[in-house]
Symmetry: C2
Subunit: 216 residues, 2 copies
């Protein structure tokens, strides 16, 4: 994270990144972590590891029973199941990172984001989009490896997801990856200046000021 003197750094922030398929949210998230030092959360999943995937690095690979136990013990910030496999964000690791002052990024879908925002209204939620619909379609069909039917389904899903955009705090148009990542970093840092994140400064200031007046 770049230097920023405009606020007193307290607890870390929970940052949720979602976006249309093809908008570039994964690349943005990866760059924020690798180039700007943001913390990330390793998801838990019930699916089998693919070649080269490491437990605790790519995912925590757990059984369906363990996953269900985490749900019933409230140990997941959010979770979702698709075609028989479940994915979730373990709560403990995320909260510990935040307590240690690290801003944590979760790259999750609109359902997961809604769950997180409900549990943690102070989470900063950002939706990533492409400059326009034509550009998004180009990105999705660019490789030419998908059938028209698959492309159509993805575009249909994008339309459905537009309904959720208003529930996010911010929307960022990913026109240029490096610039977008820079703006995301700036956007996140600026959230530390929210008065809700500066309460301890105000309390200290008031106490110091009272002491100073008594000393005059």
């Amino acid at each position: 994270m770049s230097e920023h003197t405009g606020y007193v750094k307290g607890k870390g922030l929970l940052v949720v990144i979602s976006g249309f398929s093809g908008a570039g949210k994964s690349r943005i998230t990866k760059k924020l972590i690798s180039d700007y030092g943001y913390a990330y959360s390793v998801s838990a999943t019930t699916r089998n590891p693919r070649e080269g995937e490491q437990n605790g690095v790519d995912y925590f690979f757990i059984t369906k029973n363990e996953f269900e136990e985490m749900i019933s013990n409230g140990k997941l910030l959010e979770y979702n199941c698709y075609v028989g496999n479940c994915y979730g964000t373990p709560k403990e690791y995320v909260l510990r990172q935040m307590e240690d002052g690290h801003d944590v990024i979760l790259e999750i879908d609109v359902n997961g984001a809604a769950q997180v925002k409900k549990a943690y209204p102070e989470a900063v939620t950002v939706f990533v989009t492409a400059p326009d619909a034509f550009e998004l379609k180009n990105r999705l069909t660019g490789r030419g490896t998908e059938t028209a039917e698959v492309v159509k389904q993805r575009l249909q899903r994008a339309i459905e997801e537009t309904e959720s955009v208003k529930d996010y705090d911010f929307m960022i148009i990913n026109d240029d990856l490096d610039l977008t990542v820079k703006h995301m970093d700036s956007l996140i840092r600026d959230q530390h200046m929210r008065t809700a994140n500066q309460v301890s400064y105000v309390e200290t200031f008031k106490k110091e000021m009272t002491d100073l007046i008594n000393g005059i």
Copy 2:
């Protein structure tokens, strides 16, 4: 304003800057206007012009009757009267600037800010402070031209104002003027990325995407 491609620029934003006496809010505001091209609002006042002050530049100098008429016709965004003189922000000019896409900065006190936030909840409100109480006291006593009693009154007012900080969206610590102005610019630009300010993009996107799907 510096370039920012992460959003579609729509209507201008209303930005309110307040802060402790001595925190540097006037210098920040002046620099945002001169160096970053933000629009500012000329206040109306019933006090007499001082040497060198120009009508329509420094203030709109109006009579007490004209001021009262503006109040009763709802033509002021906010107003305050101190020791017999009234000051207010004419609404029409500000709204026109915003309609033209310009972000407008109002440098007003905590009472004025509360009036604006009530009428325009989407206004971005920022409170400027010094790094700590000692630094603020130094800035207020630095010139050594004030009596202990006057300094004491200003510090007492600062304590009272701390109660209002929580009502602002953001608080910025003015440690270094140039950096603070840079952060303020970034903070304001980021607010354009709020989903509430991107509604037209989302509508257009949805329409374009629907047309694209129908064309497959």
